[in-house]
C-alpha cells in the first residue's frame, strides 16, 4: 500500500514538473506559429489581397490551440461587424501562456491588421514578425534552460518527499 502512495506522489510531482516544462514549450511554439502566421499574412495580402476576415476564417485550423483561439476570437469579432480592437481582443483571448505585456503586444499586432494600405501593412507585419522571431529565440533559450530542469525537478522533488516520509 505504501509503495502505491510513494509512486502516486512521484507521479504527481513529475506530472507537475512536466506541466511547467510544457509551459515553456508552448510559449516557444506560440511565437513560432506567430512567425508562420505572419508569413501567411504576407503572402495572402501581398499576392492575393485577401481581406483579413477571409484570411482569418480558414487560419485557425492550421495552428495550435492558443493562436487558433486568438484567430477565432478575431474572426468572430469581424463576423459581428466590429473592428479588431486591442482592448476587445485582450479581453476575449483567454491565454495563460503570456505575460500581460506580451499578450498586449500580440493583440496590438492583430488590431493593426487591415488598417492601412498594402505597402504599410506588409511593412508592419514584417516588423512584428521580426519581434516575434526575437521572442521565439528568447523562448527557445528559456525552454532549453528551464524545461528539462522542471522535468527533473518534478521527479526529484517527488523522490525527496518519499524519502522524507520514509
Amino acid at each position: 500500500m505504501e509503495i502505491f502512495i510513494y509512486l502516486a506522489i512521484i507521479f504527481c510531482t513529475t506530472y507537475i514538473g512536466f506541466g511547467i516544462a510544457d509551459y515553456y514549450v508552448k510559449r516557444e511554439k506560440l511565437y513560432h506559429e506567430l512567425v508562420i502566421f505572419g508569413e501567411k499574412l504576407k503572402s495572402d495580402i501581398g499576392f492575393l489581397l485577401l481581406p483579413i476576415g477571409e484570411i482569418l476564417r480558414g487560419g485557425a485550423q492550421q495552428f495550435g490551440s492558443s493562436l487558433a483561439e486568438l484567430i477565432e476570437v478575431s474572426s468572430r469579432l469581424l463576423g459581428e461587424g466590429k473592428p479588431l480592437s486591442e482592448a476587445e481582443l485582450f479581453e476575449r483571448w483567454q491565454t495563460r501562456l503570456l505575460l500581460h505585456d506580451e499578450k498586449l503586444f500580440i493583440c496590438r499586432f492583430f488590431s493593426m491588421l487591415g488598417r492601412s494600405d498594402e505597402k504599410t501593412q506588409l511593412e508592419n507585419i514584417e516588423n512584428y514578425c521580426e519581434r516575434f522571431k526575437q521572442r521565439e529565440s528568447e523562448c527557445q533559450n528559456e525552454r532549453k534552460r528551464y524545461s528539462p530542469m522542471f522535468r527533473k525537478l518534478g521527479f526529484l522533488s517527488g523522490l525527496a518527499i518519499c524519502l522524507f516520509l520514509l
Partner: protein, 287 residues
Amino acid sequence: MLKDILPKEILDNLRYKLEDVCELRLRKDKNIVISVMGKYVDAGIRCLPTWIDEIVLRASRFSIYTVNEQLKAGFIAVKGGVRIGVCGEVVPDGQVIKTIKNITSLNIRNPREAIGCSDPVAERCFNGRLNSTLVISKPGAGKTTLIRDLCRSLSRKNLNVLVLDERGEISGEAEGRFQFDVGSSDVMLYCSKQFGFSFGVRAMRPDVIICDELKGEEDCGAVYEALSCGVCVVATIHSGGVEELMQKRSFKGIIESGAFKRYVLLSDEPRPGSIKAIFDEKLETIL
C-alpha cells in the same frame, strides 16, 4: 450590400425602405440626406463622426489595403454593386496620391435593377445589326442600370457579351455571385478599361463589350482599338449632351470618326432612366 455597411443607428432610424433609397449622402456632423426616386430628402438623422470611419472600414471588409487603390481614385466599390464616393484629406506622395484620410463625406449609391428598361434602346441600336452605342447623361440618370439590362438582353440573343465591370457595379458581384441579372455575359471584374479591352478582344472573342463611364484619352484609345477590331462597344459617359461631349477634346475625334453608331441621351426627368433621344452616327435624331 448596403445593410451590411451601415451603422445600426442609421438602419433603425431610416424612415424609408433601403430598396427605395438610391443614394445616401453622409457629411460629418450634418443631417444625412437621402435620394428617393431622384428626389433628395433630409433623413432627419445626424451623422456622427465615427459612423463615417465605421462605414469605410466595413466597406473595405476591415481591410483598407483591399480598397486603397480605389480610395486613391475617390471611391470604394462594395460587394453587391454599392459604390461609395469618398471625400476627405488627400495624402500626397510626390506626384501621386497615397490615400485619402480624415474622410468627411460619403456618397453611397445603391444600385437597382430595372428589367426591360433597355428594350427601346435594344430595338433601335441592336436590331438586325450591332451598332456601337454611347450612353450619355448627367450622373444619376440611370446609365449603369440601362447597360446592366443591356447585358442581360444582348447575352440572351446568343451574343458573346463581355462586361468590363471596373467597380463591380454592373454585375453587383458579391462573394463570387452576381446580384443582378446580366444573363450569360462574361464579366471581368475590377479591371481597368485599358486592360479589359486589350485582354477581352484577344482572349474572350466578344461580339459586344460593355463598360461604364469612359473618361480621358486612355479610355478613348482603348475603345478605339476595340472598335477597329470589329467589336461592338457599348459604353457610358458623363455629359449633358452630344454637343457638350464634342467640347471634350479626347472625345471629339471619336465622335467625328463615326466610331459610335448610336448615341443614347438619358435624363433623370421625369424619372431616372428616361430616354430623351437617340441619335445616329451623323447625330441625326432617330428617337
